[in-house]
């Protein structure tokens, strides 16, 4: 197939159109991850400036495992989103899906 056919392949199922997401929503979309990052980091910023006085030491394993759990929250969230998207894709776009790819009455008959 030539280049023109290739460009037109996805017309029925485009991921996104030029008009579809307005500017305000785009800005919000870009700011949400930044806001989340800042909110998570705020806790660490407080810790960063704490001094250690004699008798008032951090407990290593509490800090380390705490960081681990925070990263697991992120990892499992991202994982769930990705697995959800993949499950949706393989379910909806598999060729045997009659809803997405309706079959002609005489299709398959010789």
């Amino acid at each position: 197939m030539n280049d023109r056919d290739v460009k037109n392949l996805n017309n029925n199922l485009r991921l996104c159109d030029s008009r579809s997401i307005p500017l305000a929503s785009r800005i919000i979309l870009l700011l949400i991850p930044a806001a989340l990052t800042v909110s998570f980091l705020a806790n660490d910023a407080v810790l960063a400036f704490a001094q250690q006085t004699p008798g008032d030491y951090i407990i290593n394993r509490v800090e380390i495992w705490g960081l681990f759990y925070r990263l697991m929250v992120i990892a499992f969230t991202v994982g769930a989103v990705l697995m959800g998207v993949l499950a949706y894709v393989v379910f909806k776009f598999r060729e045997s899906n009659k809803k997405t790819f309706p079959r002609e009455p005489m299709e398959g008959r010789r």
């Binding site: 997401i21 785009r26 008798g55 800090e63 991202v78």
Partner: protein
């Protein structure tokens, strides 16, 4: 919104998450990095296939390590032959023991009990059973808190003892 905008947003989110991971890790590592100046030094020697320890006051221990709860310790870790790694899983202590080099790591044991010390760097035949026992004891008059070794022979009612042990809880 073109063909590639969604991908740019996606990469932006990925980078934001990675920045968070990096910054949070940097933070925690910074906290762990500096041993308090009043830490007690414990020399740790790994060798095939056992651990030996030497306290500040000259006490030596083989296969067992006695520490006091609430006291910060700085381990000076080295090896007598091949690479080992000094690991106390319950206290998240983990540092390689490299011959010819002294690596340091500090920890404050915050709970009493017996804990596992194991080797976590392949070192040959008995690597898998190169273990030791960590015993963390309550601070009392017979083990040292912040005072020098001689002071453990003083009566427990001395002012210095009472004040310091109160701050440890």
């Amino acid at each position: 919104m073109g063909h590639a905008t969604f991908e740019w947003v996606y990469v932006g989110v990925v980078i934001a998450l990675l920045v968070y991971v990096g910054a949070a890790s940097w933070d925690v590592e910074r906290l762990l990095d500096h041993a308090p100046p009043e830490s007690k030094v414990v020399k740790v020697f790994g060798q095939q296939w056992l651990w030996t320890f030497e306290h500040e006051d000259g006490r030596k221990e083989v296969g067992e390590l006695h520490l006091t709860k609430g006291v910060p310790y700085r381990f000076e870790i080295t090896s007598r032959d091949v690479n080992h790694a000094f690991n106390i899983p319950d206290l998240t202590v983990m540092m390689d023991a490299v011959p010819g080099r002294i690596n340091t790591m500090w920890v404050m044991p915050d709970a009493t009990g017996e804990f596992l010390i194991q080797c976590r760097e392949f070192c040959g035949f008995s690597h898998y059973q190169m273990r030791a026992k960590l015993i963390v004891e309550e601070p009392d008059a017979t083990n040292v808190a912040f005072e020098d070794a001689e002071e453990k022979y003083l009566p427990a009612s001395s002012v210095v003892d009472a004040g310091d042990t109160a701050r440890l809880s």
